[in-house]
């Protein structure tokens, strides 16, 4: 892991807490990837992403409220 390359930022939108947290752990554990946000719903993610502008969003398609597809 070198400081010259910026890590790939990942956000993770998942309504199940265990999965959301687990995925965050797995992302953090993977070299070169950084989990920059965890959201329970699409609405929450759209409100919170703001300036962070992540490289990758892992979206569960079946979300309460706005669906993953609609959010994308």
């Amino acid at each position: 892991m070198t400081g010259t390359e910026r890590d790939i930022t990942v956000i993770n939108i998942e309504d199940q807490r265990e999965i959301r947290e687990g995925l965050a752990v797995l992302i953090e554990a993977t070299p070169g990837y950084k989990c920059v946000g965890r959201y329970r719903s699409m609405e929450e993610a759209l409100a919170g992403i703001g300036p962070t502008s992540p490289d990758v969003a892992l979206v569960d398609l079946g979300l309460p409220g706005m669906s993953g597809i609609d959010g994308i």
Binding site: Q16, E18, I19, E21, G22, L23, V25, L26, A29, G62
Partner: protein, 1011 residues
């Protein structure tokens, strides 16, 4: 007409179907039926069959006195005690409608019915005269008062009525005769001196307008004076002298030849003869001369009740004991009573003077004197025999008589009278001493040159030239066959136009004698086979040959070098092929006497007329035939002699009209259908329910022509194309008929071949059974269609249900279990990461790490398998295109990453084919197994996958160039066993072609199902 001989009479009684033998009246209706009123009901006769009516048909009395058909065709029946009846031929069970005449019994005993020129019906009863008045649809009778001779009770019965051409009504009864003038006045005729026997039994006008009055005391001929001769007096009386007539009027009694003085019936025959029926037989008045007809002539001397003629001109005589039919122009017969010595006739002959002779018994020769025969026996020894079929005596043109016997041939010179035979001995006896080959002589013939030809019993042929004394015997040298015996005896002889004699032999053989030689005709030349009986040259020079076995043969030109023979047999209508004799009449018609009567053939028209016992023929076995100088034909039989008088150019009148035909009964399953009692030409159409039968149809035509009964032909349009063979059968029964429309046609055929102008027709329709009717077929078709539709709907619903279940399972698997497995995999991974993250840098791997990894791996594998399962059961991807898509993706995923050259060829179908879930899954799994094997074990550099869809088959081939394996030794690591199991379940064929180092080719061939 001479009245000594036996007439052609036939008697009809109840045995023939008549309702009763006690006949009171007879009538011929406008159709031709003969009606007989009897003491036991009413009978109707069509020439062959009697139909009987009685109480069962609605007749109110047993004794029927009279029958009348009015000019408009209404039938009235007079009963003895129950008034009159109207006959309704369409009445079914109620054929007779009773109409009372008077109020008491006497006035309802109706003796006589009469229709006058105005159409008024007159009823003569035991209580005077009644006249009928039409009152709309019914008739009522009113008594007509007349001045009666006697007012004594029981002396006002009317028994006879007639009308003259001036409109006078003549009424006779047990009180005398009354003439009712057109102006209503009456003239009463009284016999002087009067007696209790003045009753009138019959009235008849003749062609001269004279009235014949049958009294109980004799026959009175009256010349009615004109009306103007009567004074203008309301009551006029005239006397009739009992002994002599007034003016031209005359009395006839037994003294004048009347068989009896009590005259009961009178009839004017066509031709002018007046026939008289009396209490004791019948007489005939011709030119005012009476001859009685004797019982021996065929009419018994019993009470005669009526006289009439049928359509064929036969005279019917009704009596208290049946009816007698005298056939017009029938054959009259003669036997011992007419002077013949025997009724067995051997031969007949006409001498040069035109006298007619017959030879009977043993050389008894009879001469006809115009009414009777005179007989004498030729003086030949008692032991001389006259053999069967031989010509026992023949007369030559010279007048010489030749008499062949077993003792030799006798000759008599011309005789004056037949009695001379008994007195004059024979002039010559020729036998072996004179050069005959034997004494037994069979036949003798004289030719036109006067030569005498003799046939001997052994079959010899001998000739003596005219004037010569030498008998020349012919032999083989003259052309006769060596064994003359095979030809039999000389039976007949004839000379053709060129004078050549022809010879017929009685056991077969025909020869002619030309240029001094015999020429024998063989069967190959067409000559008749079997015994020959007679030869005849007709007036046109044709030769006719009668055979006892093969009918008649004709040679149109007997002078030809090779004569042509034409046969005429029973198949041409001949009554019998056993022809015994031939003759022809002055009209050129040929008569063949056979063992079954006589057949007359008209060579011009080809028509045939048969004569038999019914025509007055003495016997049906005819032995000889001769035409006398008057043109009459004489037929000898084994039981008498019959004469047929040929009327020049006038065949019997009715034979020019074609026979009519009627259907008179239609019975379905034994039940009468409505058809007129008197028959109909076209009865109402009939509908026959299915399975109902049999259908019986009865028909008839009037068949009064004696000896020539009508025959009938029928045809069922819709089933039969041809008319049936003519038959005397008067009905046909159809036991069962297929459904359809039919027309039954029947026609009558006369013996001369003339058929009815129009057939009688019965149209009927046999209904099909219920299971063959249109509505039933439509109903069944609709029901089947409905069932098919319901089944289809059920099946579609079932398929939809299965699809819904499959969709739900695949969704559930994917969404719930698939998602959960993914979570397990993720969480297991997370747990492992945390464990690794939390442990000290150089601490050993915790013991839980490995199971966690296994959990994650298994979960990922399960997600993978789940994906296949979800795909397999998802109904939305049941198509070939989906399968190909998934196969292609799997191959790319599995083999795309390595250095393997992969080619994948799959069908490019325009129409996406539906593919069942099972087949789709199994094919994919086989591909998966194979490709996985390649990826794992093959170490191949090239893989080719060909997938083809050809018709109803799918064909998949996966080949690689890897190291291969031995299929026989393949462990289940290759999944070969599971592949085979899958293919077997699909009913397909799997071939694995592989060997170590040679790559592997797996081929799958399976049928594609559409479902």
């Amino acid at each position: 007409m001479a009245y000594a001989e036996r007439l052609a009479a036939r008697r009809y009684t109840t045995a023939d179907g008549l309702s009763g033998d006690y006949i009171l009246r007879a009538m011929r209706d406008s159709r031709g039926f003969l009606w007989f009123a009897t003491r036991d009901g009413l009978s109707r006769f069509d020439g062959v069959r009697f139909v009987v009516y009685g109480a069962a048909h609605g007749l109110p009395a047993n004794t029927i006195n009279d029958v009348l058909e009015t000019r408009n065709g209404t039938m009235w029946i007079a009963t003895n005690g129950a008034g009159v009846c109207l006959f309704d031929p369409r009445g079914g069970k109620k054929l007779f409608i009773t109409v009372p005449v008077g109020k008491d019994l006497a006035s309802n005993r109706v003796n006589r019915l009469f229709e006058d020129r105005h159409g008024t019906i007159w009823a003569g009863t035991d209580d005077g005269l009644f006249s009928g008045t039409d009152e709309g649809d019914r008739t009522s009778f009113r008594k007509v008062t007349m001045p009666l001779i006697s007012d004594a009770p029981g002396f006002n019965s009317v028994g006879a009525m007639t009308e003259d051409r001036h409109g006078n009504l003549w009424v006779g009864g047990n009180w005398g005769l009354v003439r009712r003038l057109p102006d209503g006045r009456s003239v009463v005729y009284r016999l002087e001196p009067s007696s209790s026997r003045d009753s009138v039994g019959a009235l008849q006008f003749d062609d001269a307008g004279r009235l014949w009055v049958g009294f109980r005391s004799g026959l009175y001929l009256h010349h009615p004076p004109p009306i103007e001769s009567f004074p203008a007096d309301p009551a006029i009386a005239r006397g009739i002298s009992r002994t002599q007539g007034a003016g031209d009027d005359r009395w006839f009694t037994t003294a004048n030849g009347l068989p009896d003085n009590t005259v009961t019936a009178l009839h004017l025959r066509r031709g002018g003869e007046v026939w008289v029926g009396t209490q004791h037989g019948v007489g005939v008045i011709e030119r005012d001369v009476i001859r009685a007809i004797t019982p021996r002539q065929g009419v018994p001397d019993i009470y005669i009740t009526d006289l009439l003629e049928d359509a064929a001109g036969s005279l019917w005589i009704t009596t208290f004991n049946g009816a007698i039919r005298l056939i017009r122009d029938g054959l009259v017969s003669f036997d011992e009573h007419d002077g013949l010595a025997s009724s067995r006739i051997h031969s007949s002959a006409v001498d040069a003077a035109g006298r007619f002779f017959v030879v009977t018994g043993e050389y008894e020769i009879s001469q006809f004197d115009g009414t009777r025969f005179r007989t004498a026996r030729a003086q030949v020894p008692k032991e001389a025999l006259c053999s069967w079929m031989s010509l026992c005596a023949s007369v030559a043109r010279s007048g010489d008589w030749w008499v062949p016997t077993t003792l030799g041939l006798y000759r008599w010179p011309a005789i004056e009278r037949v009695e001379d035979f008994a007195k004059v001995p024979p002039a010559d006896l020729f036998d072996v001493r004179h050069g005959l080959p034997e004494n037994a002589v069979f036949s003798t013939f004289e030719d036109r040159l006067g030569d005498v030809w003799v046939g001997t019993t052994a079959g010899g042929v001998v000739r003596r030239k005219r004037g010569g004394a030498e008998w020349h015997v012919y032999t083989e040298a003259d052309g006769l066959p060596p064994l003359k015996r095979t030809y039999g005896r000389l039976a007949s002889f004839a000379e053709d136009r060129s004078g050549v004699p022809w010879f017929a032999f009685d056991t077969g053989g025909l020869a002619r004698f030309r240029d001094g030689r015999f020429e024998v005709f063989s069967q190959e030349q067409g000559a008749p086979i079997g015994g020959l009986s007679s030869l005849l040259i007709d007036r046109d020079g044709r030769l006719w040959i009668g055979s006892t076995q093969t009918g008649i043969m004709r040679v149109d030109d007997p002078t030809a070098a090779a004569p042509v023979f034409r046969a005429f047999t029973t198949s041409d209508g001949l009554a019998s092929n056993n022809v015994r004799c031939l003759a022809h009449d002055d009209l050129g018609r040929l008569y063949a006497g056979t063992s079954r009567g006589i057949d007359r053939i008209d060579p011009v028209t080809g028509t045939l007329r048969h004569f038999s016992l019914a025509d007055g023929l003495a016997s049906d076995f005819v032995t000889s035939a001769t035409r006398d100088r008057s043109g009459a034909l004489w037929f000898g039989t084994i039981n008498g002699l019959s004469r047929l008088t040929v009327e020049p150019g006038t065949p019997a009148a009715p034979s020019t009209t074609p026979p009519t035909i009627f259907i008179d009964a239609v019975r379905l399953a034994g039940r009468d259908q409505p058809v007129s009692e008197l028959g109909e030409v076209g009865p109402a159409a009939l509908t026959v329910p299915p399975g109902r039968g049999p259908l019986q149809i009865e028909y008839f035509g009037f068949s009064f022509e004696p000896g020539s009964p009508l025959r009938y032909q029928y045809r069922l349009e819709g089933a039969e194309a041809e008319w049936s063979a003519p038959s005397e059968q008067r009905g046909v029964t159809y036991a069962s008929l297929a459904s359809g429309s039919y027309r039954f046609l029947v026609r009558a055929v006369r013996s001369d071949g003339v058929v009815s102008q129009a057939a009688a027709v019965l149209a009927f329709n046999v209904l099909p059974p219920f299971y063959a009717r249109w509505w039933f077929i439509v109903m069944i078709a609709a029901a089947l269609g409905g069932m098919a539709f319901v089944l289809y709907r059920m099946r579609v619903a079932q398929l939809l249900r299965v699809e819904r279940v499959r969709a739900r399972i695949s969704t559930d698997l994917h969404d719930d279990i698939g998602a959960s497995l993914s979570q397990i995999a993720i969480l297991a991974e997370v747990a492992r990461q945390r464990m690794r993250h939390d442990r000290p840098a150089n601490a050993p791997e915790p013991a839980a790490a490995e199971p966690l990894e296994r959990i994650a791996e298994t979960s990922r594998g399960l997600v993978d398998s789940m994906s296949d399962i979800v795909w397999a059961i998802n109904p939305e991807v049941d198509s070939l295109a989906d399968l190909v898509h998934r196969m292609r993706r799997f191959v790319e995923d599995t083999l795309g990453a390595g250095d393997i050259d992969v080619t994948f060829r799959a069908p490019e179908s325009k129409v996406d084919l539906k593919l069942g879930a099972d087949l789709r899954r199994e094919i994919f799994l086989i591909l998966k197994e194979s490709v996985t094997n390649i990826a794992k074990h093959a170490r191949a550099t090239r893989v080719a996958i060909d997938f083809e869809n050809s018709g109803r088959r799918l064909w998949l081939r996966i080949s690689d160039n890897g190291q291969g394996f031995d299929p026989a030794e393949a462990t289940d690591g290759h999944g070969v066993a599971s592949m085979r199991r899958r293919v077997a379940a699909l009913g397909g064929r799997l071939t694995i072609d592989s060997a170590q180092g040679r790559g592997t080719t797996i081929t799958l061939d399976v049928e594609r199902w559409n479902q």
